[in-house]
């Protein structure tokens, strides 16, 4: 797996310890309804999902489809209306309210779209605080935080306040914070939405390597098309349910990525199905393939692979 992601100089190093904490997350026919009566909203409906240790699952879907709701339930922030969520032997959805903080603290690492660092604390303190919440003594907590942040390339930024950090740095601090209590599962909601695409990609690759090298499960909710290549599995959530997974194809004429199910046009030729962004592209493709020369267009297309 690791070999798929080449290590280059520009790539961020990651902590090189193996998680002592890996677990399987099993979601069984989970439903979440908000409100009641006329204003009732079914945000998630009978969703089932298993996330294996070390697996990266990307959940995509239109706005309002229930992605955040599902992620909140996975992270024991929200109780499902129906169904069960199990983390190895523990059924999270049945635990008493006062057991949940501990589960969140030790089993889950959360990463948010807007980083959510505490503005009054330095980068180091933001990370150490969460270790301290889990019972680490002050000095030990700071040591652990500093080690982790150094591994994430933040050695020079330990004592900076969040306002003095770039977006990418903030998200790396947040990742260090998510990792500091050695969680089995990382949950990220739109972790790259506030970052430019290059930094977003770096963060995604970092998450992937955390999953693969440390055997942690990572569940990412994102609109970001470009990050699908880092996931082991991409799930499409729509109207609170997983729909058949969206598969992408490339328009052979203009090179645009199109969803197969939503392609404006398609064509079967010699047992292969081609998908197009528009009828125009298909017409062009057909003309080219069938050798019907139309003006000097063909000569233009000849050089194409």
């Amino acid at each position: 797996m690791e070999s798929q992601i080449p290590r280059s100089k520009s790539q961020l190093p990651i902590p090189d310890y193996q998680s002592s904490n890996s677990a399987t997350l099993k979601v069984d026919r989970v439903t979440k309804r908000y409100g009641s009566g006329a204003t009732e909203v079914t945000a998630v409906q009978e969703v089932s999902l298993t996330v294996a240790a070390g697996e990266i699952v990307l959940i995509r879907g239109p706005s309002g489809s229930g992605k955040t709701t599902l992620l909140s339930m996975l992270g024991a922030l929200l109780k499902p209306t129906e169904g069960t969520i199990r983390l190895d032997g523990t059924t999270l959805s049945e635990l008493a309210e006062n057991r949940l903080p501990d589960i969140r603290l030790r089993q889950f690492g959360f990463i948010f779209q807007d980083f959510n660092l505490l503005s009054a604390l330095t980068a180091l303190e933001n990370v150490a605080l969460v270790a301290a919440l889990a019972g680490a003594k002050g000095k030990e907590a700071r040591k652990r935080a500093a080690g982790l942040m150094t591994d994430l390339g933040l050695k020079e930024r330990l004592n900076f306040l969040p306002e003095k950090l770039s977006g990418g740095e903030k998200q790396r601090v947040a990742i260090a914070r998510a990792l500091v209590n050695d969680p089995a599962i990382i949950l990220a909601d739109e972790p790259t939405a506030n970052l430019d695409s290059k930094i977003g990609h770096e963060i995604m690759r970092l998450l992937r390597r955390i999953a693969k090298e440390q055997n942690r499960s990572v569940v990412i909710v994102s609109h970001d098309q470009r990050i699908k290549d880092i996931a082991d599995r991409v799930l499409w959530l729509e109207d609170g349910q997983f729909k058949e997974m969206v598969t992408m194809a490339t328009d052979p004429v203009c090179g645009m990525a199109v969803e197969r199910e939503k392609a404006a046009a398609q064509l079967e030729l010699d047992g292969v199905t081609y998908y197009f962004c528009s009828r125009g592209c298909r017409a062009e493709f057909e003309a080219e393939r069938r050798g019907q020369v139309v003006g000097d267009r063909l000569t233009l297309q000849v050089g194409r692979p």
């Binding site: 969140r104 503005s119 604390l121 919440l133």
Partner: protein
Amino acid sequence: MILVAFRNLFQNKIRLVISVGGVALALLLILALDAVFSGVEQQVTAYIDYSGADVFVSQEGVRNMHMASSALSASVASKVKAVSGVASVTPILYVTNVVVADEERNLAYIIGLPPNAAMGGPWRVVAGERIPSDGEAIIDAGVAEKSGIGLGDEVKILGEEFTVAGLSDGTATLINSVAFISKRDFAKLRGDPGTVSYLLVKVEPGGSPERVAARIEAQVSEVTAQTRPAFAAQERRVIKDMSTDVIAIMNLTGFLIGMAVMALTVYTATLSRRAEYGVLKALGARNGHLYRTVLAQALISVALGFGLGLAFTLLLAAIVPQLGTNLSLLISGASLVKVSLVSLVIAAFSAILPIRQIAGLDPAMVFRGK
């Protein structure tokens, strides 16, 4: 989490200054007023403390001087003198009246002293006589200075002209001063040569004032005999009784102001970090952790306010006597304990509302971007 409390507090300097300053001023109000009255309590017994008497004998039932009137038959003096353990007896006359100096009226304890009085006279004389002869008065140096008079000038006491023959020091308080005239003049003006007000008793060296006082009460009829400390304590009680209501009102005012300032700042400080508390909850902080953070913020601010308020009061106590007034501020242990408790109550109360805010926070809100 205490670190979070500190950082949250110190990140917003303006809010910190307002809350700490506000609490400091509120506590200053309580502390300074207490100190003023403690100072008055101490000053008011100056005459008793410096009288040199071990035991004070008064008319039966009269237990102090301020706002009291005591009358003893002159013959009681020899009966008291005969009690075993009594070394000497000095009869004095006393009334609260005014010293009129150059049209200016100064409230004063007027003391009528016998010639060669062994006790009860001025304890520090800065100029002139120690014991007034007939037609003479010894008045407080500060009062004299304020009225622009000096030795040899005339003052009016009990409606009669007296020549200032001596100036005493330490005989003035915020509210009054002590003036001394001869016992004979005093008696003549009151038209009653047969009575005295108090008998000042010196006990024999090594004798116990308590026992002598008890013996006097047992052997001499219709008198009350108290040791000097007991007599002084009674005097202080009178002042305390008079000041209790004023102090209570001011304490309540200070408490309410302090509370309002504190509650508002702790509340807004918590409210402005609502989202961050939500993040902490989502990350796995227990409610208890967050409550402690808020409470710590309140306690730290109040403690800083207390320190600042105390510093202000000490500064006042140091400066005020330099201003030439007779005001003296005395910070008592009891007052410090009281204000500390008031501070704790302020901190606890101001944390209640924010804590309820936090208790109601839904940790799931963090994924919704606040």
